[in-house]
């Protein structure tokens, strides 16, 4: 746990990373309190045909969409699903990738070799194409998109953890522990994993931003979130038919994606620098 405190301090000292942290915290707050923050929370599903495609005004700061729904409310409500998707996908990927990486990094032999080859196969296909294929083969929908994204993201964790474990396996303190008679699970969970935690944390933060982008893209291509979900990618897709007149329709959901992903990326960047003193030195 010490490592986290060690990592937090440099972040607060770096204004850019702090901005990232603030953006992420803001988004989490918005997500938690979305139904209370949104001016028209019922616009998650309600339609108002008489006020379709209104430009931004005092009543509707971001304008209304093709079914007369308040875009500001939907952007706020969409934060929740964006963060849920990101957290679940990264969580599931970690649950698969971290054990695989630990095992394959710790042990030698055909099994760990095979595990890493399988990882390579998954990494050899561009993630989006694989997610699209999976999304089409199963029924399209948000759950499918999350499964597909998790199935394609875990290899990144496996790689990261594998590399860290390999590095630590030869470390002196591990040898000492083994000499003291500590069992493998104990060494892995109590000693190797905490030391690999910063690398995992950086990967997870970057993965959040990445997942939000890809999930939005899947929503945009029609294999992700289903209407009337206030999904941002879906909103941009729905907006296309109403351009160039309704410029506000794709603009604000897109900006929301940009800000949230920017937040995660800036934070991840800061974390990476904090975790890797070599890079921090080069940054000044």
């Amino acid at each position: 746990m010490n490592t986290f405190r060690q990592m937090l301090r440099p972040i607060l000292r770096d204004p850019v990373a702090t901005l990232g942290l603030l953006l992420v915290l803001l988004a989490v707050l918005v997500a938690v309190f979305a139904p209370w923050l949104a001016p028209y929370p019922e616009d998650a599903y309600e339609s108002h045909l008489l006020q379709r495609l209104q430009p931004p005004s005092a009543a509707f700061p971001f304008g209304t969409d093709n079914l007369g729904r308040d875009i500001l409310s939907r952007v706020i409500l969409g934060t929740r699903s964006a963060i849920t998707v990101a957290v679940s996908v990264v969580g599931i990927s970690m649950l698969i990738g971290v054990p695989v990486g630990l095992w394959a990094g710790w042990r030698d032999g055909w099994l760990s070799e095979t595990l890493m080859r399988v990882t390579d196969v998954f990494l050899a296909v561009p993630q989006l194409i694989l997610a699209l294929a999976l999304g089409q083969l199963m029924a399209p929908g948000l759950t499918t998109a999350m499964v597909a994204l998790s199935l394609t993201y875990w290899p990144f964790f496996a790689r990261t953890v594998h590399a860290e474990t390999r590095r630590l396996r030869t470390a002196l303190f591990v040898d000492a522990l083994a000499g003291l008679g500590a069992g493998t699970p104990r060494i892995l969970l109590a000693h190797v994993l905490p030391n690999a935690a910063p690398a995992i944390l950086v990967r997870a933060t970057i993965g959040m931003g990445f997942t939000i982008l890809t999930a939005a893209l899947l929503g945009f291509l029609g294999v992700g979130a289903a209407p009337p979900s206030p999904d941002w990618g879906l909103a941009v897709a729905e907006a296309r038919q109403h351009l160039p007149e309704a410029w506000w329709f794709p603009t604000f959901p897109g900006l929301a994606i940009l800000l949230l992903v920017l937040g995660f990326n800036l934070l991840g960047d800061g974390l990476r620098d904090a975790a890797d003193p070599r890079l921090r030195r080069s940054r000044h």
Binding site: D120, L132, L221, V223, A239, I257, L258, D269
Partner: protein, 337 residues
């Protein structure tokens, strides 16, 4: 070096074989019966049974897997369920469109990314540095499909200064097919107007697509240069009176290029993913739109072929990158087990 290249290529083989098996597994987890899908609507059970025998779908699963691998290795990816044409034929016409777009984007990323990274490093902690840093993080945070739509909205719809869609004006036919790259084929045929038109059509999609690559290259160049500037020999050279610019070009840029080459492999994966969105928005007749159409028409044969072809191209590019890297820096070749 030749041995290294051979070994590197051989190392890619298990991954490719795994990829082929993965696509096979995918065809088998599809809900529904591939034979029924192939038979089409209003097919009788007898017709479906006949198709099952014809395609060997009644054989044991491992036998089917072997057949699948053999077919793929001989370049037979089957026929599209939707159009009835060999999938390979359709892909051959579409792959160059995607490659032309991604290469253009990659050139832009490198051509703009390296100078930007260099500028930022030389202007360390100055205003340019901050702008470039923000850009390099922001560039990776923009959803490509959204950026494409916004650029299209401004440049093609509102101001009407750039083409809206496609590889060339629709009234032109395609240039005679040699490479499938419009820029090359139009020059080959001496069609200047078409060449310029194609170049013009490439601007918006390539600019949209280049952004993530540009961002990461600028960022790696920047940190590479910064790191190199801290090296003792550089500090020494500076003390002796070399200017920043000379230093940058002599010592630093070479390092930066090595770093960039490493990035290209990773970048290509991102470019292909981005291309799916960008192609869909700019109506670019490449593999991305092909994949989207395959999804809309439940054409799993086409989709699997795209997955496979993209995987192979991706693997090939990664091998190429490793080889290039070894050529630039022979130490890399020694590192590999």
């Amino acid at each position: 070096m030749a041995r290294y290249i051979l070994r590197r290529a051989l190392l890619a083989l298990p991954a490719l074989l795994g990829l082929i098996l993965l696509t096979f597994v995918l065809t088998r987890i599809i809900p529904g019966d591939p034979a029924a899908a192939l038979a089409g609507d209003s097919a009788t059970p007898a017709q479906i049974a006949e198709i099952r025998t014809r395609y060997g779908l009644d054989r044991p699963i491992w036998e089917q897997a072997v057949v699948h691998v053999r077919q793929v290795l001989t370049g037979d990816l089957g026929s599209s369920i939707f159009s009835g044409r060999p999938v390979m034929e359709e892909i051959i016409f579409r792959l160059p469109a995607t490659l032309e777009l991604t290469f253009a984007a990659m050139l832009l990323s490198i051509g703009i990314g390296i100078p930007l990274g260099l500028l930022a490093a030389l202007n360390h902690n100055g205003p340019i540095d901050h702008v470039v840093r923000l850009l390099s993080v922001g560039g990776l945070a923009v959803a490509s499909f959204w950026l494409a739509i916004m650029l299209q909205l401004l440049f093609a719809m509102e101001w009407d200064v750039l083409p809206l869609r496609g590889r060339s004006d629709l009234a032109y036919g395609a240039p005679p097919f040699h490479t499938g790259f419009y820029l090359i084929d139009s020059l080959w045929a001496g069609q200047w107007a078409l060449f310029l038109d194609s170049l013009w059509h490439l601007v918006l999609p390539a600019v949209t697509l280049c952004l993530p690559g540009l961002a990461s290259i600028a960022r790696f160049t920047r940190s590479g240069v910064l790191e190199a500037l801290q090296k003792d020999y550089v500090l020494y050279a500076r003390a002796v009176g070399y200017g920043s610019f000379r230093l940058a070009t002599i010592y630093v840029l070479r390092n930066a290029i090595t770093v960039t080459v490493t990035q290209i492999g990773l970048l290509f994966g991102a470019l292909i993913s981005g291309a799916v969105a960008v192609e869909a928005i700019f109506d670019w007749p490449g593999l991305g739109t092909y994949a989207v159409q395959a999804i809309l028409s439940a054409d799993y044969k086409a989709l699997l072929a795209v997955t496979l072809v993209v995987g192979v191209v991706y693997a090939a590019i990664n091998v190429l990158v490793d080889v290039l890297q070894a050529l630039i820096d022979p130490r890399v070749a020694e590192d590999i087990r």
